[in-house]
Amino acid sequence: MHTPLRLARVYRIIGLTILTIGLFAGAAPASASTGSGWLRLAHLSPNTPAVDVYLYSFHNPKALVVVHHVAYGTVSGYQKIPSGEYTVAMRKAGAPSSSPPVISTTVDIHVGAAYTVAGMGPADGLRLRVLRDKLVTPRGKALVRIIQASLSQHLVTLRAGHSLLARNVPFASVTSYHVVKPGTWVVSARGQTEHTSSTITLTAGTIHTIVVLDSPGDIRLDDLVDAAGSKVAPAGAPATGYGGTAPRPGGSDLPWLILAGAGVLVSIVGVRKATRPAGAHALGGGRSAGTS
């Protein structure tokens, strides 16, 4: 009886291990992938000198992230952070972290959402704007929005090829997203005195922000990819299996387990029969004889 007992123990341990792994598999991804959003930081104020940007978890005086010497025209990559309330503060580059910030704002990061916090406007009217960045495109289309950050050209008109993207966008403003036919476009920006153009590929399923920036004696365009997905989402669910390792139909474990269970019962009966004292046998026999 040792072998089946040991086997049973082995199977119990295997069963527990599988359950434990299952529990962890259920618990771990939840904390790893849910409950976070994305944040990126930008300096888009033409006549504001470089700044140090601080990111604080709300009410926590210790900064989570410090980005030093962020100059005009700089946009960080997205950082994945847990959802919740944060404070973004800008200090003059090199200023001590204990000094009062030039400007600060709070941003509420929602699960699965993306935000851009940008310092905008002229130096004497600097504001921190919290922009909610889109993460969904219409099927087979691209999305484009404009951030007008050129102080030298107060109104700028943008076109993709011959189609109008936005007319007379004022300095320090942000347009809503425009639906654009995918393709490679010559995007032109025309202000009162300056104009520029840039070849930009807008792939289906991508979301872009085009920033109009002052460049010494000129303006220029910066194309930011906010987010990207598949050009066209495939229909349905992928058929990625032929079933060669799937359990055969009717190949249930149940008959085998019933056989094993019956074996255990038969063994117990056998052991009791073989080891029962003679008196018990005799009495048992006698009783049956008496009742028959």
Binding site: A28, V232, A235, P238, A239, G241, G244, W256, G263, S267
Partner: protein, 254 residues
């Protein structure tokens, strides 16, 4: 193991004494050989017991053996790599892939190879498009994986899609052990220019096919991510299809 019911009188066989005692206690007449019965019964009972134990043990062994075989039948090659050699899969070396810059304009080369040391996957990547009914094309061979050319290249901004089979009609496929990946484990994609994009697994999920989360899998994301897709759950022999998909979510390591 005593069969002695009481003190034995010298010179008298135990069985006889016991038998005669009972004969007096029991009503009705007993046939003459009855007094020998206890020993016979004892032997019969003993051998019957041993036979029962033996058959019981045999049944337990058969049952557990059959159960084990049934459980492992298809999945018996778990430990064996479905592609590449036996043993550890070496981590690919190459130019470290830089994460996409804020502009996201950096072009990355197309992916040619996928390595997942934790589940011993080492496969070349073919190109996958869409079928005539707009579903995701899947590799003809179950031994290799493919990159969906409609998705961003691995390492560029966005969710890059790589699909592979869990099995062929006869055995495990390249993504047979995909469901065993755990958050934190590494995935390496080598590009045509020999640069390597390193990804960290963030989640492993299983979805019923009729509730496949198209937006979460194929939709836009702001960072460089990777989705590894295969089948899972139970297999429907009527339709010749698995009923679920396993999706591994991974993010580029900065």
């Amino acid at each position: 193991m005593t069969y002695q019911a009481g003190p034995r009188r010298p010179g008298q066989p135990a069985s006889r004494e016991v038998g005669s005692e009972w004969a007096g206690l029991l009503p009705g007449r007993r046939p003459p050989p009855k007094h020998r019965r206890p020993r016979t019964r004892r032997r019969v009972a003993q051998s019957a017991g041993i036979a029962l134990v033996a058959s019981g043990v045999l049944a337990v062994a058969l049952g557990l053996g059959g159960w084990t075989l049934a459980a492992l039948s298809g999945r018996s090659e778990v430990a064996k790599p479905s592609a590449g050699g036996i043993g550890q899969v070496p981590v690919p070396r190459g130019i470290g892939a830089r994460p996409p810059g804020p502009s996201g304009r950096r072009r990355v080369a197309r992916p040619v190879k996928l390595v997942i040391p934790a589940i011993r996957v080492d496969t070349k990547l073919i190109r996958l498009g869409l079928t005539s009914v707009h579903t995701l094309q899947v590799p003809v061979s179950a031994a290799i994986a493919g990159w969906f050319t409609g998705s961003p290249r691995p390492g560029a901004t966005g969710a890059s899609i790589i699909a592979g089979h869990i099995d062929s009609q006869s055995g495990p496929g390249v993504f047979f052990s995909l469901h065993k990946l755990r958050p934190g484990e590494r995935v390496y994609v080598t590009r045509a220019n020999r640069s390597v994009a390193r990804f960290r697994v963030t989640a492993v999920r299983q979805y019923a096919k009729d509730r496949f989360p198209t937006a979460a899998v194929y939709g836009p994301v702001p960072d460089a991510e990777l989705r590894l897709i295969t089948c899972g759950g139970s297999f429907d022999y009527a339709t010749g299809s698995y009923l679920s998909n396993v999706v591994v979510y991974a993010v580029l390591v900065r």
